[in-house]
Amino acid sequence: MQGGSSGIGYGLKYQARCISDVKADTDHTSFLTGTLSLKEENEVHLLRLSSGGSELVCEGLFSHPNEIWDLASCPFDQRIFSTVFSTGESFGAAIWQIPEPYGQSNSSTLECVASLDAHVGKINCVLWCPSGKSDKLISMDEQNLVLWSLDSSKKSAEVVSKESAGMRHSLSGGAWNPHDVNSVAATSESSIQFWDLRTMKNVNSIDRAHVRNVDYNTKREHILVTADDESGIHIWDLRKAKVPVQELPGHTHWTWAVRCNPEYEELILSVGTDSAVNLWFASASSDNQASERSAEASRQRVNPLLNSYTDYEDSVYGLAWSSREPWIFASLSYDGRVVIESVKPFLPRR
């Protein structure tokens, strides 16, 4: 509750699920968000935090043909982003480019760079290669993993390789390892799978059912954070992946998404269907303290929950840290409200 007053809000017209940080925009703290409306005209909003940090301004409003289930901004070109959309009966994924002098007209049309049309089933997400300059993309549906090579100048995307995870594993999402561009984690019905993109093989897996979301710690190699429906948040060390390094209670209802802070390795954000955003402090992710941890943890059972932002009317699905100002995050609740909050009061002292 205490964090509520610092929040900056912005209302979308319709319901929405996804928000993404525009990483390539180094001059401003910007976010992209898209609506999820089955029957209305869907929109993509480019939001920018004013220089004073007190206002959230809509820099661009673009109509999008279908309801957006996933949205990711290109890490090297701020005008490019990907969406996963649904017509209600079928799914599609595409790369879009924001038209050149954007922000002039209120609802200009987006330019479709490429359509990632190698899928048949329900597409879950599109992942951009986190290394920055690489033009590699991954799109994931329930059975398949497709690696794309994007040529934005030629406006085309080619399938580099495609591999089926098998009928049994219903993939639901994933994350690209920022420490190893050849490794991608994918969540499936019964496990977290680790794919090697060179061979397109599932090389490793953690048995964990019903993982809803997964994120790599960008600061610490081998550390992975997962969110489950019922049993909260788990932090894993991939070198000893049998048992989680740490467990966090998560949310009262499902924990929908988790994000590690790009700068402060201990900070983890999670959003849940209990209409709350929780900020966690998970010191356990540092591996050289791992041995001391057990003793320390038993000694001081400190509440790892730093703060809970509860000022939401509906389930919160969208969550993104700003990479430019890493103490700022954007959250998006289902009723279409974007809230920008600052975690500055909770930053660990250095």
């Binding site: 809000g9 089955l38 009966e89 269907t273 389930s315």
Partner: protein, 782 residues
């Protein structure tokens, strides 16, 4: 008077001075003070000048004074003269008496010389006579002496000739001590003349001695002989110059072997302890194993005492033996307490050991056995305390797991209740019993325990603290809450979280409450009552209460989680399987609703067995409503816009109403804190399930029929859910939310007409009724 006395004194003094100057040749030494003060006017000084004095007198004094002075002087002179006369007279007297004495002496000495001469003469004659007697008797005396020597020699020879026979006699009567004494007496002679005159004699006696040695050795090694007899034999052998060291070694080895017999066999220990306890009651029957053991140890210590005396250099080994016995005692004790042992039995054994130690300590005080055993006892006691606690924990977890075999019965019968009661009792009774046992230990006043009392109190307190802490973590492991990361606990290995029955978690949760509210305060009370003097405060009830409070909440939450997880699985399957966009027209209420209700029913049943009934409580509306401080530019007319555009069919307007109602309804606080009441837990579970349902709906896209199916299912759920749940408003709200979510995700929102809805629901109800009846019939018939 004083003034009168002073001149008198002065006068006497002067007189004395004068007299002394007369007797001493050097006046300056005798009266140094007066000589210093002498001047011309001092009439007593040696440098007195009469003329000068006269002059001075005449000059200084008038006539009266002079006259007075004159009279005075005349008197003084007169005095001096009389004194002088007195002295002369006395001296003369002494002189006369001295002369008289000398005269008498002279007359006495005269006539003594004649007597002296007579005496000398007589002495001379006595001497000459005695010389004559001496010479006349000399020859006879020499002869007698010779005869005497011969007789002695003959006696010795006789003894040596008799020796073999004597030795044989001794062997017969087993008087080995005498035999050895005889033999050693004859030894010097035999050594000198053995090869010549007494050859036969020597051989015979040596043979006899050999048999004696043999006999003694057999005696030494025979177990039937008493220890003293054996010790004596050892002494005799030593006197016979038989190599003793090897004997000693052999003996000590024997002693070592006898240790085995003295050990307290862990298997028999309980018997021993029993007898030890019971022998108090029946003093007459002393032949119990404890007595036997005591006798054995007594014998052992006696033997040690004997050996110590026989072989003074064997102490080290004896020490080692005694120490070994003590350590094996304690080792066996450790083995013994590995099994479940009551404090009384433990004490029994401990007493026996302590007695043994005391016995041995008496014999070998230098071995520091009491220190050794004190140390060992500390370790053992500590272990005993720890083991007792771990047994208790094992007991509790056994009670918990014993019933959890058939899961079907758990839900229907009162099994959970039984488990809870049994385990609650196990904890309460167990901790009280354990405390009583420790009281016994503390009341014990065997020397060693008294010393350790403080330590023991500390251990007990720490033991309780650790026990409760490990019990808590054990609960968490049992519940599957803590994953197997600490597999050292290892008690429920292989039991994956899915296999752990939810009811057990609930039992654990309630058990934690019982422990927090009943057991810990009680133990705290007893501890403060019993160890009021104890300064170590290792037992911190406040902290433990907090721990268990947290644990109970955690476990309750975990129970709800496991339950909702199960329901979630049902829902997940329901929503993942069909293609909702191509759903067929609803014909009946889907069967997942039954499963959902069944699960909830199970929860209700479990909860009813375990948790107390809460007071009925109206749902609290969120007071956080309206605290919307974020600036929102959202238009609130979203739904109304949407709905306004939709046509005005009756059914649609019905939906519109739901939407509107939602807008104006206050935000319902769905996620309230769970309380330890039946209603609270059921309500929370239902709420979470409905929320999950809503979320699953939101992830799908529905066609008209799909939406209608959802509508139907929800409509059906409404009545039974409201029955089970205290918070109707929240349930209504959540059910509506599901419908709203479905309508939002629907391509063509056309709700079912209420009559059709009713009809389908009635059909379902009838069907389930019939099903129930059938079930009842089958149960009755069977």
């Amino acid at each position: 008077m004083a003034t009168e006395a002073a001149p008198m004194d002065e006068k006497a003094k002067r007189m004395r001075d004068l007299l002394s100057s007369f007797y001493t040749p050097d006046p300056s030494i005798s009266t140094p003070t007066s000589s210093i003060s002498t001047s011309f006017d001092n009439i007593n000084g040696p440098s007195f000048d009469a003329d000068q004095y006269m002059d001075l007198m005449i000059k200084k004094s008038n006539l009266d004074v002079l006259l007075q002075r004159h009279v005075q002087m005349a008197a003084e002179i007169k005095n001096l003269d009389t004194d002088l006369q007195m002295l002369v007279y006395e001296n003369y007297n002494k002189f006369i008496s001295a002369t008289d004495t000398i005269k008498r002496m002279k007359s006495n000495i005269f006539g003594m010389e004649g007597n002296m001469d007579q005496l000398l003469h007589k002495i001379m004659s006595v001497q000459s006579r005695s010389d004559g007697v001496n010479t006349s008797l000399f020859e006879k005396r020499e002869h007698i002496e010779k005869l005497h020597r011969t007789r002695n020699l003959l006696r010795k020879v006789q003894f040596i000739y008799d020796l073999p026979a004597r030795l044989q006699k001794c062997i017969k009567s087993e008087a080995y001590g005498d035999a050895v004494r005889f033999y050693t007496g004859a030894m010097p002679i035999l050594k000198v003349y053995g090869d010549t005159s007494f050859k036969d004699c020597r051989r015979a006696s040596e043979e006899a001695i050999e048999t004696i040695i043999k006999n003694l050795q057999t005696k030494l090694f025979s177990d039937s002989e008493s220890i003293q007899a054996r010790a004596e034999a050892a002494v005799l052998l030593k006197q016979l110059d038989v190599p003793v060291d090897s004997l000693k070694d052999k003996l000590l080895e024997k002693l070592e072997q006898s240790l085995d017999g003295l050990q307290i066999n862990p298997d028999e220990a309980s018997k021993l302890a029993e007898h030890n306890v019971s022998s108090k009651d029946e003093e007459s029957n002393n032949q119990g194993p404890a007595k036997i053991h005591e006798d054995a140890v007594r014998g052992f210590s006696e033997a040690m005492r004997a050996y110590r005396e026989i072989f003074p250099d064997s102490e080290e080994r004896l020490f080692k033996l005694a120490r070994a016995l003590t350590t094996t005692h304690f080792e066996n004790m450790e083995l013994y307490i590995r099994k479940r042992v009551s404090a009384a039995d433990f004490l029994g054994i401990f007493r026996i050991i302590w007695e043994d130690v005391v016995l041995m300590d008496e014999v070998l005080p230098e071995a520091a056995l009491s220190d050794l055993s004190a140390e060992a006892a500390q370790v053992t006691l500590k272990q005993f305390v720890a083991r007792t606690f771990s047994h208790l924990q094992q007991d509790i977890s056994d009670t918990l797991l014993k019933f959890d075999i058939n899961q079907k019965e758990v839900v229907d019968g009162e099994v959970l209740k039984v488990v809870l009661e049994a385990s609650g009792k196990a904890v309460l009774q167990g901790t009280t019993d354990i405390f009583q046992e420790f009281r016994q230990l503390l009341d014990e006043n065997t020397g060693i325990f008294v010393k350790m009392n403080d330590l023991l109190i500390g251990w007990i307190q720490k033991g309780f603290q650790d026990f409760f802490r490990s019990l808590e973590s054990h609960f968490l492991v049992l519940s599957g809450k803590t994953s197997s990361s600490n597999e050292t606990e290892g008690l429920v290995e292989g039991k994956s979280s899915e296999k752990i029955h939810a009811g057990l978690i609930l039992v654990l949760a309630q058990l934690s409450v019982v422990i927090e509210q009943k057991v810990i305060p009680r133990i705290a009370e007893e501890i403060t009552a019993s160890f009021s003097g104890g300064n170590s405060q290792a037992f911190i009830p406040g902290e433990l209460c907090r721990v268990f409070h947290a644990a109970s909440e955690k476990l309750l939450q975990h129970y709800i989680d496991t339950r909702t997880q199960k329901i979630s699985n049902v829902l997940r399957k329901r929503f993942k399987t069909p293609n909702w966009v191509k759903h067929k027209e609803p014909r009946e209420v889907h069967m997942y609703v039954d499963m959902l209700l069944q699960q909830l029913e199970e929860v209700g049943k479990e909860v009813k067995q375990i948790l107390p009934q809460g007071t009925f409580r109206k749902h609290k509306r969120s007071d956080s409503n309206g605290s919307n401080t974020t600036t929102s530019s959202r238009s609130t007319t979203l739904h109304s816009d949407k709905m306004a555009r939709s046509n005005s069919q009756r059914a649609r307007s019905q939906l519109f109403e739901t939407h509107l109602a939602k807008l104006f309804k206050q935000k319902v606080e769905i996620f309230t804190k769970v309380e330890f009441t039946q209603e609270s837990v059921v309500t929370t579970t239902v709420k979470l399930c409905l929320k999950s349902l809503q979320e699953y709906v939101r992830l799908q896209t529905f066609n008209r029929s799909g939406f209608q199916q959802i509508q139907l299912d929800i409509q059906f759920l409404k009545a039974p859910l409201k029955e089970t749940v205290e918070d109707e408003a929240a349930i209504d709200f959540l059910l509506d939310e599901v419908i709203v979510a479905a309508s939002e995700r629907c391509l063509d929102v056309t709700p079912l007409e209420p009559p059709i809805l009713d009809k389908l629901i009635q059909a379902k109800l009838a069907k389930s009724k019939e099903h129930n009846n059938n079930n009842n019939k089958t149960t009755v018939s069977s």
